[in-house]
């Protein structure tokens, strides 16, 4: 049996901006068979046996952390969780010192969420272990972008040529950035829709269409990726109120009913029901929000698996090797 090695991802996964279309597609393709593992009675394969992974979440997260943890455990890795509360970070230790101490205990990978944009890259340049960015400030959240891509591909059958509109608080959203990079690289048409105060000033430079009316966005789009209105970041009068936001930009069933085609609705969670999305949409036939959650585990398994394989020159050698 001859097997072709996967295109190497390198040491880290920091941003979809860094990846080629081939690399992104390879991650999505690798995620496919990993879906089935989570349906097994024994939801575990031994492929990362003996690997130690640290989940360092310096910002609150439930969904992403648990999703990574399931992915790691289903691949048989050993995992440790640290958070900023109750760790030496509170005592004033720097990020690099924390990581170097962990490395001294011989770890293989760090999955990190951090409030500062660029934190993942900063760390990746300073430690030998693989770093997976689980969200850094307003920069990127690559595995969320990947699971959104996988979900769109599952339902639309392709990504190339699909019209995706990202709705809401694009300004504060690393999910939006990862989506825009990933979708553009795979040939989707991308738009953003939201109040001007919540769109980055340079949004046009990302080669995306801009809608300021949700009705126009819904008329154009095949897919809506509805972002959470990050209430904790709504300081300085960015939106008047969540009720006002819902009235003008909320994705409601009435608005979807006027769409010329069936629109697929994604949401990265957690949802503010009645703010950016209405309950009848969230629970309705257009929404694939729980499918995103399921795909999240598969995509993260694929990323962990591909990064754990290590050096590209060795993957090259695998291409040549034949065995039976």
């Amino acid at each position: 049996m001859n097997s072709v090695a996967a295109p190497a991802l390198g040491k880290d996964l920091l941003a979809l901006e860094d990846l080629s279309p081939v690399q992104i597609t390879s991650i999505l393709d690798t995620a496919e068979p990993f879906k089935e593992i989570s349906e097994r009675r024994i939801k575990k394969v031994p492929v990362l046996r003996g690997k130690t992974i640290v989940n360092a979440f310096f910002e609150n997260s439930t969904r992403t952390r648990i999703s990574f943890e399931f992915a790691e455990k289903r691949l048989s890795a050993d995992t440790v969780n640290i958070s900023s509360t109750g760790s030496s970070v509170l005592k004033g230790e720097t990020l690099v010192d924390t990581a170097r101490n962990l490395e001294a205990m011989r770890i293989d990978m760090v999955v990190m969420r951090h409030g500062a944009s660029g934190a993942a890259q900063f760390l990746a340049e300073r430690i030998a272990s693989s770093v997976i960015n689980a969200g850094d400030g307003k920069h990127e959240h690559p595995t969320q972008g990947l699971l959104d891509l996988l979900t769109i591909r599952d339902h639309m059958g392709r990504i190339d040529g699909v019209r995706v509109c990202i709705v809401g608080d694009v300004l504060h959203s690393r999910v939006a950035r990862s989506n825009i990079w990933g979708l553009r690289k795979l040939g989707a048409e991308v738009a953003v829709c939201g109040p001007r105060t919540l769109l980055p000033r340079d949004v046009e430079t990302l080669d995306v269409r801009v809608f300021t009316r949700i009705e126009a966005a819904i008329e154009w789009a095949d897919v809506l990726n509805v972002l959470r209105l990050q209430m904790e970041r709504m300081t300085g009068g960015l939106v008047p109120s969540s009720r006002e936001y819902n009235r003008v930009f909320g994705v409601t069933q009435a608005r979807l009913n006027r769409a010329p085609r069936d629109v697929l609705v994604l949401h990265p969670g957690p949802m503010n029901r009645g703010v950016e999305i209405d309950s009848d949409v969230a629970d309705g036939p257009h929404a694939v929000i729980l499918h995103q959650v399921t795909n999240g585990v598969a995509v993260r398994m694929a990323v962990l698996y591909l990064l754990a394989g290590g050096a590209p020159e060795l993957a090259e050698a695998a291409k040549r090797g034949a065995d039976a």
């Binding site: 097994r40 394969v45 050698a317 034949a322």
Partner: protein
Amino acid sequence: MTRLPAALYVEPMLPTSRQTLLDSAATEELLRRVARDIVERAGGTTNLVLIGIHRRGVELAEWLGGEIERQERTPIPTGSLDITLYRDDLMSIGPRPVVGETRLPDRGIDDAQVVVVDDVLFTGRTVRAALDELADFGRPRRTLLCVLVDRGGRELPIHADIVGTEVFVSPEARVEVLVPEIDGRFGVDLLPPPSE
């Protein structure tokens, strides 16, 4: 009917180009014999399940299952196993794209007579991985190994219960089983080592 030798001895010299060891007709004849051997070795078709190892073993298992159904007039559940995630060499060769599907029959494998089907038996490492993976799916009453070609060269204490034919070749040479879905026809070929 093609006369099939029990074993094929090939010059220990390395081949310089692709050579046919068994043509399409001879390979099908061999497979029909293997189907009969499976039923004989399993003592019938009760609780018989054929599981092919990805990739070429999958099609062989399906073909053999269909052949046994014709011979014995009873349905034979089949499945497929991709052992990539159970390999022992991921860290030394880098990850492979996991394209294979692992799909077991609806009945499961508990208390079944499971026949693991692969194309070529060489080092035995693939079979080791397959046995590990199967154990995560259930507990068969008995597991048998069926290969179309046994080419020797084991690196683990593993042997096949049902063997189509043995091939004695240089360890560097490659033996390939061809199947219709992937290669357009059945066959067994001998190939030179992969070029650097």
